[in-house]
């Protein structure tokens, strides 16, 4: 196998692996904070969970970007021709 394709596969794997780390930590913190807020103030649960969902989607976008980059490397690599 060529070096370029090996590098692409490794790059895709590392992109997903490290791209999932940051959003996972961030989502954990966000959910923990939301849980605490709901426990303190259960009557605001609707607003908090709605904002939480939108925020989680925002955080998740970074992981999705990494996934798209990995898929580009695997399936539509411009360097491999």
């Amino acid at each position: 196998m060529e070096y370029l394709s090996i590098a692409s596969i490794l790059g895709a794997a590392f992109a997903v692996a490290f791209g999932a780390l940051g959003p996972a930590l961030a989502e954990g913190r966000a959910v923990a904070a939301a849980m605490e807020a709901i426990a303190r103030q259960p009557e605001a649960a609707n607003t908090i969970s709605r904002t939480l969902f939108v925020g989680l989607a925002m955080i998740e976008t970074t992981a999705i970007y990494c996934l798209v980059i990995a898929l580009l490397l695997l399936f539509a690599n411009p360097l491999l021709g």
Partner: protein, 233 residues
Amino acid sequence: MNSPLESVALFNLGPVTITQALLSTWVIMLILVLGAVLVTRHLALIPGKRQAALELIVDTLDTQIRETTGAEPAPYRSFIGTLFLFILVANWSSLVPGVDPPTAKLETDAALAILVFLSVIWFGVRSGGLRGYLKSFAAPNPVMIPLNMLESVTRVFSMFVRLFGNVMSGVFVIGIVASLAGLLVPIPLMALDLLTGLVQAYIFAVLAMVFITSTVEDGRSAQTAPSPPKKDT
């Protein structure tokens, strides 16, 4: 395994190539339009079962729009509601065997994101006039103009990639697990996919609403306030 970035052509209709995503998009549009026409055909003051269900949906949409943005839902209900219902039905169409959700393809999501981009301009111009809309780019102060122009494109692009990535990855993972493990194993993943589909449709609609109202409000405040903004105490 097929690349998730490419779409498969089914047949040619003259010069137009019909892909599977295009076909399922049109079928979903047909179902939604026909369903809406059938349900709203005999509207009565005292609703029957079907009308009550429909009113529940519309009322929920209105409440969500009002609570997330504080705006009156009437001008936005049709666009946001259609966006939400279409993406929801499209995401859940993966339940039908043999159908890939059209939102798992690049072109459908790009079209939806372009719609949101254009609707931001449309609602901004309609409420604040062209001057108000253009002034909304200089929202906190004129230094932000290049950043605001860049943001108006990138936020829509991120909506596009977010919807595509979420739906496509769900379909992709189910495909991989089904090909590795067999027929009934990916069922929990499909249940997760239903949740993801609902959340993504909701988020797409909410974000579109937030972008529209922020532009509208910026345009309005630029229209009414004198050019040196008052200092809040």
